[in-house]
């Protein structure tokens, strides 16, 4: 009887010493395998489109004179939301410009626009697929949870290993981190379209595709726009983190400022990000309110 205790050793009451799951080793091996196998694939098929779009957007924004950018911004904000938002956007951007970081602002804006564009191109169709088949959503949901909750630092390193440093790994990390709201809210928006409208469309002989594009997507638009808004906010929150692996812009100012203990520079970068976030938020909220489907809420 007494022999039993030494036999179990110190593990009595502590089962964790009995079994050792080397998850860390497995992950290391998996990432090594992934990087070795797919590096070329990612560098030839994923990297170029992302990089090209980014460069194109950046070229457009930096080669346009700042005054023209401000004018364009005003028009967009005015059309999407209201003239008040237009004035606010212009004042906020001008303020950033007067702080002397216009170039960085444009770089960050290009990063956000590019990643959000890819989030929409990939996320909206996935969201639509999820809304049509419960099975798809059941499969996609845990992946979305992982994408949203995994701290971005965890996949920064594999991203660098796959794409090397620069804007591209930052963009890819941002796309992964910012896409879930687009998928979730596209799915939710379409599912929330009241059955009476799809029924009416069906009764008039519409095909499933006509029902989707003529009725469900337009009516889901306010919700899809809310998803876009969240996606943009998440993308902005990634710009500082992306700076760690070589992305430029306002995030880089913050990152460098902190490294050099230059609080002033970090603050300028931070303030720029906050103002940009407010401008983009107001504009996309306006888009949601003006979406044609937003009339549905006042109906019955």
């Amino acid at each position: 009887m007494n022999d039993l205790i030494p036999m179990l050793g110190g593990s009595l009451g502590n089962p964790f010493e009995l079994i050792d799951m080397p998850i860390d080793d497995w992950v290391t091996q998996f990432v090594d395998w992934l990087v070795n196998t797919f590096r070329d694939f990612f560098r030839t098929w994923v990297s170029p489109p992302v990089k090209t779009v980014m460069e194109w957007v950046q070229w457009l924004l930096t080669s346009t004179p700042p005054l023209a950018v401000l004018a364009g911004l005003f028009v967009i904000a005015w059309r999407a939301a209201s003239w008040k938002v237009g004035v606010f956007a212009v004042v906020a951007f001008a303020f950033i410009g007067f702080m002397g970081v216009w170039e960085e602002l444009m770089t960050t804006l290009s990063l956000v626009i590019t990643s959000v564009l890819f989030c929409l191109i990939i996320g909206v169709p996935i969201g639509i697929l999820c809304s049509r088949k419960d099975m798809t959503y059941t499969l996609v949901r845990p992946i979305l949870d992982i994408m949203q909750t995994t701290p971005p630092f965890v996949y920064l390193v594999p991203a660098v290993m796959l794409f090397s440093i620069g804007n591209v790994p930052g963009l890819v990390a941002t796309i992964i981190f910012a896409m879930p709201p687009t998928i979730r809210l596209t799915n939710l928006g379409i599912r929330q379209v009241p059955g009476q409208y799809t029924e009416a469309a069906t009764a008039f002989g519409s095909t499933p595709r006509q029902i989707l594009w003529k009725v469900q997507v337009p009516l889901a638009m306010p919700t899809i726009m809310a998803g876009l808004n969240q996606t943009i906010m998440l993308a902005l929150s990634m710009v500082v983190i992306a700076a760690i692996i070589g992305a430029g812009g306002l995030g880089l100012l913050v990152f460098q400022g902190l490294n050099r203990l230059d609080i002033g520079q970090a603050f300028v970068g931070g303030l720029g990000i906050v103002l940009l976030a407010m401008v983009l938020d107001r504009i996309t909220q306006g888009l949601g309110e003006k979406a044609p489907g937003s009339r549905a809420s006042s109906d019955d």
Binding site: Q196, E199, F204, K214, L219, R295
Partner: protein, 408 residues
Amino acid sequence: MIRAEGVTKVFGPNPESVKPLLDQGKSKDEIQAETGHVVGVNNASFEVGAGEVFCIMGLSGSGKSTLIRCINRLIEPTFGKIILNDPEHGEMDIATMDDPTLRRVRSQHLSMVFQHFALFPHKTVLSNVVYGLEVQGRDKAEREELGKKYLEMVGLGGWENHYPDELSGGMQQRVGLARAVATEANILLMDEPFSALDPLIKVQMQDELMRIQQELGRTILFITHDLDEAMRIGDHIAIMDAGRIVQVGNPEEILVNPKTEYVAKFVEHADPTGVITAETVALPFSDRYFNRVGKEAGNQVWNRTGYSDIEFHVDTNGHLVKMRFEGNEVALHELEEKVTETGGAPERHTDAAVHCSSDTVLKRVLRGRAYSELPVIVQDAEGRLQGVIDEPELIHGILEKQGYAQDD
């Protein structure tokens, strides 16, 4: 035009399994208690002729909305056939057709009006009206032309570019009606289209529908829980109870001769004055109720038994040629001449009487009685004296929904 044969809808995990129970004639409640399956529609058969307004009436839960959705398969019927008789393609069974054919039939032959309008809130009034035409693949100019024409028809010309939420309920349903007729489908399915409207607007819309129907002559399947509505607009009425059609007939048949207690209960509260005809309630002109009192200028003179103050002078062809009240001759007028659509002021003449055709509804006869204190004369198709309607006949007709004379 369209015919339902034994249409049955069973809700539940294994709907086919209740077939034997249905065949045994078990009721909805029994089947639900035994198997947990809910029988929405139980063996419904009816036929709607071209250009006819066919009302299906029942309380909520009677299966009428399920039945109409089985017709265009918004709900898949479990058993039964729905035969569409289309001049181009002959008889087709909607219940078994494949999806592309079903879509074609829905878009070209069957259109629908919904209880809660179901207008697309993100589309303008005009784009709502032309939705069905868009699905049919018509080009834009043609769509808009047709859309405007039908909007004009429902009295909403000029509202093209407004959105549904800017319109009142009645106006929204006009748009719903325009959307349904615009596809030029010959069959209109209307699912309680006016139930969500105020009583006044409701009556207005019923008139509007009848006016449009006169113009277009579509075949209409109309669902309602309001018997008065069914009586007003229906050529035929089917009454549903617990998933079954318990009686089919024209309004007067149902009112006068309810087949089951359930129908009788409904009918009890219905307003008979718009349905019952003069012919039904009139005291027949025969020697059973009238006495011949003499002859004058070649015409026979009659009194109603017990009323000697009114003389009816009838010629050899059976036409009423003269009428006397307390010895004075009274003027005879056509009822419709003295009674306008809106009523006509009650004058209570004793020096004039009105005559009407045998198919005049009681409501008009009452208006005639408001014009004159004397009995209303009912004439048959050849203008012969068929009977008279005096106070006892009216009271009896309204309360008992049948002729006074039939009682004895």
